[in-house]
């Protein structure tokens, strides 16, 4: 087979003279021009001569035994090249998974959730593949479903997974519990006796979807060497690779992965979707195979945010000091483990929020059920807890007759505070200051729907264009919330990134080339890498190579970690490259000027300069006939696992804090909500790219708004089937639902982190939701222990 390159193959993105800035400047995205001209190649844009289209047949029921699968008629359909089921898998490895391998590549003997892949088809046109899939006859015998804690742990409950052999199986109280993490510190029962007031509540957090706009998709091209080239949108190439290669029976170096354009991720691309399926079909047919999910399938193609039930009890003294916390958090992990164990770790260790509470009794667990699998989504376990503890803070403040912000500030953690895990917070924790800032901001004007002499502008009212109110029933409310999110992978995970940096002269100019496997999913990591290279190497021109598996792992684009860890890796490699460049310079020119030997040397604006500003040489001259090329790993400080009984351990490396003030207007008769303003204050340590920082904060805030008032995957409790897998019934905020989002950025350096930066992507998603809920409570006087809030909850219907 002749070597053919698919259309849409990512190529280097070079950023030239248009943006010259280093860190701290709002330089523009290197991929910006491609993205506004429509030329940027997303994974669904890939095209290859002779390519086939893959299609997935998914289960129509949630829990059933598969008695038989008959593919004969489907296979006879003209244009169909292959149909694969479990029996066709090429090796003994037939399952995969992020933390443990419990997910079948194709269903074997039974299906455990609605929409589980059962068979895959390759055909010459997507419609041919769909029609063929419709002809596959699967004989299901229904099994009873478990859908919540009661049904999952009832006596005689069906086991979602029999014969578990994963590393949590030994310590969980029931096989339908994936992982359980208690945290016990001090004596909560004893401390409760000191409390003047005690408040408790049961909170419910609905199932949120990442709803990234670019559906799961990719192209697998069989190679001449029996391997496969896979172009795909993912969050972590090397994690995919580790899961894909064994199923294909190929060594990892024969599965060559390249990151295609990624249309958003938010956690939803941390697990595999179509990767293995496309490779299997490509290897079977010998032809390139493209798979593109549509929106309906996308709702089944990735994990969701864990829905949760949370029981909380807090006490406080009458002067407003928290005495204790007892809480129990039950997360629904659905049919497969995905990232559930790590989500449990976060939910438990961050369940107390950014507050000082010395006596705690905490338990968090994730269930196996027949509901859709849940895993990573922006905020990762900390989101659900924040919704509950912030509701508790408002209840306590009300009971004590204290202002809710004042009460929070009285209990706010700061640098040096001991977490319930026994870990000391060793970098700035400006919780009280963030709250002070959002509160100090002037409130937006009232009744903005009033126009000069004319009818009400319904666009500024609850209900919007639907014309439901001209001001009738509308009440304003204001609410506050603050949250804490860990940054990076915790609990002893070896969290590292790799960066390769080359420096050379091209056309008389010094150029740096940065190569990492970091998944650019929109966050702007590529922008920051170029800024770091400019800062460290003093070059104007930086080329960012496409992310692929020819370079070492960059970890996942998740956990707010990429700027910290892969950014840190780029910085580290650049520093080593700089040393090499200086060595070359010393060898070439050292004899001409004593400063080469004695001064601190920097690379700035294409020159080698002393720290006093004296120019020693042009980089172009130093690098003439030379190049420096290094690939190095870099890791943040190690963390520890939490003790399985007490939850003690230095589990986290860094924290991120944001506070919100929400101003809402509620049509109290119809139960419709308009969010008027969502003000944010966040500590970012150091804003490497201020414009991108704002984008992350505003985007995260809006996802929090979505799950406050509209976003929820609705699963039928009787059948465990998804009822709204479409953008018609799973609603995300439009521009008319999204308020102005003023942002106040603090930069208090974390001395342990590169440039003092703090991971920022997730924190704004935490406190946004409870702030909106608090504002709605303020407007309506209702208790509202569930999110998202539906009109029914606000109208008692």
């Amino acid at each position: 087979m002749a070597k053919r390159t698919p259309a849409g193959t990512p190529t280097d993105v070079t950023q030239g003279s248009r943006t010259k800035g280093g860190i701290g400047e709002s330089t523009l995205r290197p991929d910006g021009t491609l993205k506004v001209t429509g030329e940027f190649a997303y994974s669904s844009d890939m095209w290859h001569e002779d390519m086939l289209w893959g299609h997935t047949l998914r289960s129509t029921v949630a829990h059933a035994e598969i008695r038989s699968i008959d593919t004969a008629e489907a296979l006879a359909t003209p244009g169909v090249h292959a149909i694969l089921t479990y029996d066709d898998l090429p090796t003994e490895v037939k399952r995969y998974g992020l933390e443990f391998q419990d997910t079948p590549v194709l269903a074997h003997g039974k299906v455990r959730h609605h929409g589980e892949p059962v068979a895959i088809v390759a055909a010459d046109h997507p419609e041919t593949a769909r029609r063929a899939a419709a002809k596959i006859r699967v004989d299901y015998a229904d099994l009873p479903v478990v859908t919540d804690e009661a049904s999952a742990t009832a006596e005689g409950a069906p086991l979602v997974h029999e014969n578990r052999d994963d590393h949590h199986a030994g310590h969980v109280p029931h096989p339908n519990i994936v992982h359980r993490q208690p945290i016990v510190r001090g004596d909560a029962a004893e401390a409760a006796k000191r409390a003047d007031v005690i408040v408790s509540g049961e909170y419910v957090f609905g199932m949120q979807d990442q709803a990234f706009l670019g559906p799961e998709s990719g192209l697998a091209v069989p190679g001449e060497d029996g391997g496969v080239d896979l172009y795909v949108a993912t969050q972590w190439l090397h994690s995919d690779l580790r899961q894909i290669a064994p199923v294909l029976g190929l060594p990892e170096d024969k599965v060559r992965m390249t990151l295609s354009g990624v249309g958003g991720a938010f956690g939803g691309r941390e697990d595999l979707s179509m990767q293995i399926h496309a490779c299997l079909l490509a290897l079977r047919t010998g032809k390139p195979v493209k798979i593109v999910y549509n929106r309906f399938e996308s709702f089944f193609g990735h994990v969701h945010r864990h829905p949760a039930k949370l029981w909380y009890e807090h006490g406080a003294t009458k002067d407003g000091k928290l005495t204790h916390l007892k809480c129990r958090i039950v997360l629904d992990g659905g049919a497969y483990a995905s990232a559930s164990p790590a989500v449990v770790g976060n939910a438990s260790s961050l369940s107390v929020g950014p507050y000082v509470v010395e006596d705690v009794d905490i338990e968090a667990l994730a269930l196996y059920t027949n509901n859709p699998p849940c895993g990573a989504m922006r905020g990762f376990g900390a989101v659900q807890a924040c919704f509950a503890y912030e509701a508790q803070m408002d209840k306590l403040a009300a009971k004590l007759g204290l202002d809710p912000v004042e009460f929070r500030r009285l209990n706010a953690m700061e640098q040096g505070t001991l977490l319930p895990t026994g870990q000391r917070v060793d970098s700035p924790a400006p919780v009280a200051e963030l709250l002070r800032r959002v509160k100090a901001r002037p409130l937006p004007p009232e009744q903005q729907w009033l126009t000069a002499g004319e009818a009400a502008d319904v666009r500024a009212l609850p209900g919007g264009l639907s014309n439901t109110t001209h001001g009738e029933g509308v009440v304003r409310g204001v609410g506050y919330a603050v949250g804490i999110k860990n940054v990076g992978f915790s609990e002893g995970f070896d969290d590292y990134s790799t960066a390769r940096v080359r420096m050379e002269v091209v056309g008389g100019e010094p150029v740096a080339t940065v190569h990492t496997a970091m998944a650019e999913v929109g966050q702007g990591g590529v922008t920051v890498h170029a800024q770091i290279a400019r800062t460290e190497l003093g070059v104007a021109q930086v080329t960012i190579q496409p992310a692929d598996t020819r370079v070492g792992s960059a970890g996942s684009t998740s956990a707010s970690r990429q700027t910290y860890v892969t950014g840190g890796a780029v910085k580290n490699t650049c520093e080593h490259v700089r040393e090499r460049v200086l060595e070359i310079g010393r060898a070439k020119f050292g004899t001409y000027h004593p400063a080469w030997a004695t001064a601190e040397l920097l690379l700035e604006s294409g020159k080698v300069v002393t720290d006093g500003g004296e120019v020693l040489a042009d980089l172009a001259d130093v690098l003439e006939g030379e190049s420096v090329d290094l690939e190095l790993e870099w890791r943040h400080r190690p963390t520890q696992a939490f003790d399985l009984r007490t939850g003690q351990g230095n589990g986290h490396v860094q924290y991120s804090f944001a506070a919100h003030r929400a101003v809402v207007e509620v049509d109290t008769e119809l139960g419709l909500v308009k969010v008027i303003e969502l003000a944010v204050a966040q500590d970012v340590g150091k804003a490497l790219n201020p414009l991108s920082v704002l984008g992350q904060i505003q985007g995260g805030t809006t996802q929090g708004l979505g799950v406050a008032v509209m976003e929820e995957i609705i699963v039928d409790p009787k059948t465990a089937k998804v009822r709204n897998p479409s953008f018609t019934d799973y609603l995300i905020p439009t521009i008319l639902d999204t308020p102005t989002i003023p942002v106040d950025v603090l930069e208090l350096a974390d001395e342990n982190a590169p440039y003092g930066l703090r991971g920022i992507g997730e924190a704004p998603t935490l406190s946004s939701t409870p702030a909106v809920l608090a504002a709605i409570r303020d407007a309506t006087g209702l208790e509202l222990n569930r999110t998202p809030v539906r009109p029914e909850h606000l109208t008692g219907t």
């Binding site: 609850p462 209900g463 014309n467 439901t468 139960g671 609603l731 439009t734």
Partner: protein, 296 residues
């Protein structure tokens, strides 16, 4: 699947007679969703975009004759005075892109109880002009909806136009959705005052198997307005009349629980919308000289 492209109306009627299973497609905002999501594989698709007369409208003395494919955007821009209720309803349809393609003919063809045009048509008063090779007939819109996503069209018939009574008084339209734009109705309500006949007509959307008028509520209100001399004295409608009207509108609903809302909420919300829109239209009627335009 075959794609039929009739160049004119007669050709379309002939094609529909020959292929009664042919699915007409104009804006595509319903049909293409069903095809893209593999919910429907018609034997024939029949494109109506090439038939120019379907995109035309004519304003007569009593009625507006609205071609079946006139996009909602055109109704919002050009027919606010004559059809204020429908213009308001048009403004709540989908997104600007959808309003550029979607049409009242499509809403009627799909006959979804959630179609936004229905309450406005019911309250204004309208007849659907349908035609086949056998001839033309005009169906009062109340009789057009025969069940969930079912209508009175015979297999060989196509919708040609809708004859909608021109507004003689204020009209309003409200719709509840859980998003401030681009949302399918949880429930909707339309109201039209007809000072020429001293009647009020209503339309309820998405709160029963079909769109429907709240006739008992209309009868009550018409009697109460007549009895109190409200049409002449222009007094404020008493809260008790408004409340009873709203309660009767709620009572006319026969909703279901689904992912978009509960039956109980729908009944409640339709009542609130009935009370509010009655208030808005009546205020507009009382203040002489105000324009009858909707705020579309």
């Amino acid at each position: 699947m075959d794609f039929l492209r009739p160049a004119g109306w007669e050709e379309a009627l002939a094609a529909k007679a020959e292929h009664p299973t042919a699915v007409p497609i104009a804006g595509g905002t319903d049909v293409m969703v069903e095809i893209n999501f593999d919910h429907r594989r018609p034997e024939y698709l029949m494109d109506l975009n090439r038939i120019g007369e379907l995109r035309e409208w004519a304003v007569g003395d009593e009625h507006v004759r609205l071609g079946a494919s006139v996009p909602y955007t055109q109704i919002m821009e050009h027919l606010r005075t004559e059809l204020p209720g429908l213009a308001l309803a048009s403004h709540t349809v989908g997104s600007p892109q959808i309003r550029n393609r979607g049409s009242v003919g499509g809403n009627l063809g799909a006959a979804s109880p959630a179609g936004d045009a229905h309450p406005a048509l019911l309250s204004a008063g309208a007849e659907v002009e349908v035609e086949s090779v056998r001839g033309v007939r005009r169906i009062p819109v109340e009789e057009f909806y025969t069940g969930v996503k079912r209508n009175a069209l015979a297999p060989d018939e196509l919708i040609k136009a809708v004859h909608i009574k021109k507004a003689s008084g204020p009209q309003q339209f409200s719709k509840v959705g859980t998003r401030n734009a681009m949302v399918i109705a949880v429930c909707a309500f339309g109201i039209a005052l007809h000072p020429d006949s001293r009647t009020v007509k209503t339309g309820i959307g998405s709160a029963a198997p079909t769109p429907l008028r709240a006739r008992v509520a209309e009868d009550f209100l018409n009697a109460a307005l007549e009895e109190g001399g409200f049409w002449d004295n222009g007094k404020v409608i008493t809260p008790s009349i408004a409340k009873q009207f709203a309660d009767l509108v709620s009572g006319a609903c026969n909703p279901i629980d689904d992912v978009r809302g509960t039956a109980k909420y729908r009944r409640h919300a339709v009542g609130i919308m009935a009370r509010r829109t009655l208030g808005w239209t009546w205020e507009q009627y009382r203040s002489a000289g105000t324009t009858l335009e909707g705020a579309a």
